[in-house]
């Protein structure tokens, strides 16, 4: 699959401060790529370099096989971007704003403007001045603006910022629709981990300007061991049985009442049936057994902790 975005040794320094450090990103065609990182990690600076707003101190950027910033104009014909908070001419209407940006893209089409306004749910407010819009409405207009050039790549910097829960859901659905129906590659920067987990197929995690992990979401979340919580009657008996199983590691327990409670264990997934049988054979009453899935949030904080310890 072709790389839509590829950065090699991308670095940005402001004076002595290194904001982006030797960053190698790969975004493939069709990806919904989640770009994660804590505040100040270098996400926005990376996005600004990808869109040609900021010049790299060193390293290379290739967007759809072309050099950024050398072929900036060519690249931006096929890229829609919403960088940080959406900014518009407040004294103009939503339609006038989109008309301006559409003309500057060299692709003015009144029907297309109507279509993108409809997609983001602003058609009924198309002729209202932007100064009368709420933050959420401006955010939607920002996404509409990013969709104007009928892009092959959409770069969205925290697009659900300031949206209400319904608005957030709508934007996530829109991103999924763009990727699946319109075959648009999406580069999504967000600090909302569950959002990235719900929407993205691949993620890159950046911390202190460095990429600490990159890969398929499913791949990154797949673990060799699984945490399982077992609700049992007979905690003492359970511990005795589990202590005999070498591949089981008890993580903790909580007592509900008397000898009843929940015990957390870490166990290789393929051993879970044997463990269940051993518990039953040992006379343990199992009320429930459920896996505690690793979330992107767990992975994110784990990686940040590792990076902190390494640094």
């Amino acid at each position: 699959m072709n790389n839509v975005v590829e950065t090699t040794n991308l670095t940005k320094n402001y004076g002595n401060r290194c904001v982006v450090d030797d960053l190698d990103l790969r975004v493939c065609e069709g990806d919904v790529y989640g770009f994660l990182g804590p505040n100040g990690a270098g996400k926005s600076t990376t996005i600004r370099m990808l869109t040609g707003l900021v010049r790299p101190s060193s390293g290379n950027i290739q967007v759809m096989g072309r050099d950024m910033p050398a072929q900036r104009s060519c690249i931006l014909r096929e890229v829609g971007a919403l960088v940080e908070s959406p900014a518009f001419y407040k004294y103009l209407s939503a339609r006038d704003n989109l008309t301006i940006f559409s003309k500057l893209s060299g692709e003015y089409d009144s029907d297309h403007i109507t279509r993108v306004l409809d997609i983001v749910g602003l058609l009924s407010r198309a002729n209202d001045k932007v100064k009368t819009f709420s933050h959420g409405m401006r955010q939607r207009l920002g996404i509409a603006q990013a969709l104007l050039p009928s892009p092959k790549l959409v770069i969205l910097d925290e697009p659900t910022n300031g949206l209400d829960p319904q608005g957030m859901k709508d934007v996530r659905e829109l991103i999924k629709r763009l990727a699946h129906e319109e075959k648009v590659t999406v580069f999504l920067s967000s600090h909302l981990l569950n959002e990235v987990e719900q929407v993205c197929t691949r993620v890159g995690i950046i911390n202190r300007g460095k990429l600490v992990a990159e890969g398929d979401v499913a791949e990154l979340l797949r673990t060799e061991v699984e945490d399982v919580e077992i609700k049992v009657g007979g905690l003492k008996k359970t511990r005795e049985v589990l202590d005999k199983l070498q591949w089981v590691k008890i993580q903790g327990e909580s007592i509900t009442s008397g000898d009843y409670g929940t015990i957390s264990v870490r166990v290789p997934p393929e051993q879970i049936p044997y463990m269940t049988r051993a518990l039953a054979a040992g006379g343990v009453d199992i009320y429930s057994l459920y896996p505690k899935l690793t979330s992107l949030e767990d992975l994110f904080f784990e990686l940040l902790e590792e990076d902190k310890n390494a640094g």
């Binding site: 600004r48 869109t51 040609g52 707003l53 900021v54 010049r55 900036r72 104009s73 060519c74 690249i75 931006l76 014909r77 890229v79 971007a81 960088v83 940080e84 908070s85 959406p86 900014a87 518009f88 001419y89 407040k90 004294y91 103009l92 006038d96 301006i100 940006f101 003309k103 500057l104 893209s105 060299g106 920002g142 603006q145 050039p149």
Partner: protein
């Protein structure tokens, strides 16, 4: 470039702030007309002149009003300030509002955006300055009457009405070019400050310092290169014949300042990181 220019004109026409400047200038003209028509100062001057000369009509007419507007308070403060505000706002206001970021995420060249904005500023300031002259003459003709231009510079000069109209046009055109130079300095400063107030302050500061330096004997060797030397020489263009050498030299200095400031601004804008 044409598309960029079209969109800039579209924004200019729709922006409420566009109409504040002309309105302020119209108010200024109205106040000057009232002062000329009803002020004791001008009546006293008329009486004083009548003691030594035979004056038919009033010297305080349309031509006088149009020339009066170009005296230092307006010429050295109001117009440069206004011009700096217009040019300083072109890029800096968009940078501060974040719209520059949205604009530069489109397939446009930075030079295209900057030059189209600069040309818009040139158009606006030329229109405003020349419009001020035309409005002054027309309003003066209605409220004060027409006639020859009585000019005081190293004596008293009487320029016949038709010659006065041509002279006023020539001088206003030169002043408009001077305002473009002043604005260009604000434009250049705004490209690296991303702050319109700083750009306006910088340009006005530049004009003020130039005016002060020009008055100090020690700096007499650089006086011929100062913008203010020529802005302050406008008076000398209202004698019986136009001082062509001074006129051309003034135009040359204004043009050089404008071009150099534009080039510096474009170089900075082309290289700068858009962080706002």
């Amino acid at each position: 470039m044409l598309v960029e220019l079209q969109t800039e004109f579209f924004k200019l026409a729709k922006k409420p702030r566009t109409y504040i400047g002309p309105s302020a200038l119209m108010c200024l003209l109205a106040l000057i007309i009232v002062a000329i028509k009803y002020g004791h100062e001008f009546q006293y001057m008329q009486e004083r002149l009548a003691r030594d000369f035979i004056i038919s009509g009033s010297f305080a007419n349309a031509a006088f009003l149009t020339r009066y507007v170009l005296l230092p308070p307006v010429l050295l403060m109001f117009l440069p300030l206004f011009s700096s505000m217009v040019f300083g706002d072109l890029l800096a206001a968009e940078a501060a509002d974040g719209t520059l970021r949205t604009l530069l995420c489109r397939p446009v060249t930075r030079i295209g955006i900057a030059v189209s904005k600069y040309l818009l500023g040139v158009f606006y300031v030329l229109t405003l300055t020349l419009g001020l002259g035309i409005a002054a003459y027309l309003l003066g003709a209605v409220f004060l009457g027409r006639g020859s231009l009585l000019s005081f510079f190293g004596g008293i000069w009487i320029i016949p009405e038709k010659a006065a109209i041509l002279r006023l046009f020539e001088v206003y055109a030169l002043v408009a070019l001077g305002m473009v130079s002043t604005g260009s300095i604000a434009f250049a400063i705004s490209t690296f400050l991303s702050n319109s107030n700083g750009a306006v302050g910088g340009a006005v500061g530049f004009i003020t310092i130039s005016a002060i330096i020009g008055g100090i004997e020690f700096f007499s060797s650089i006086k011929p290169y100062l913008l203010t030397t020529y802005l302050l020489s406008v008076d000398r263009l209202f004698t019986d014949k136009l001082d062509t050498a001074l006129y051309l030299k003034s135009a040359e200095v204004f043009a050089v300042y404008a071009v150099v400031a534009l080039i510096i601004g474009l170089i900075i804008f082309q290289k700068k990181d858009v962080l706002a």
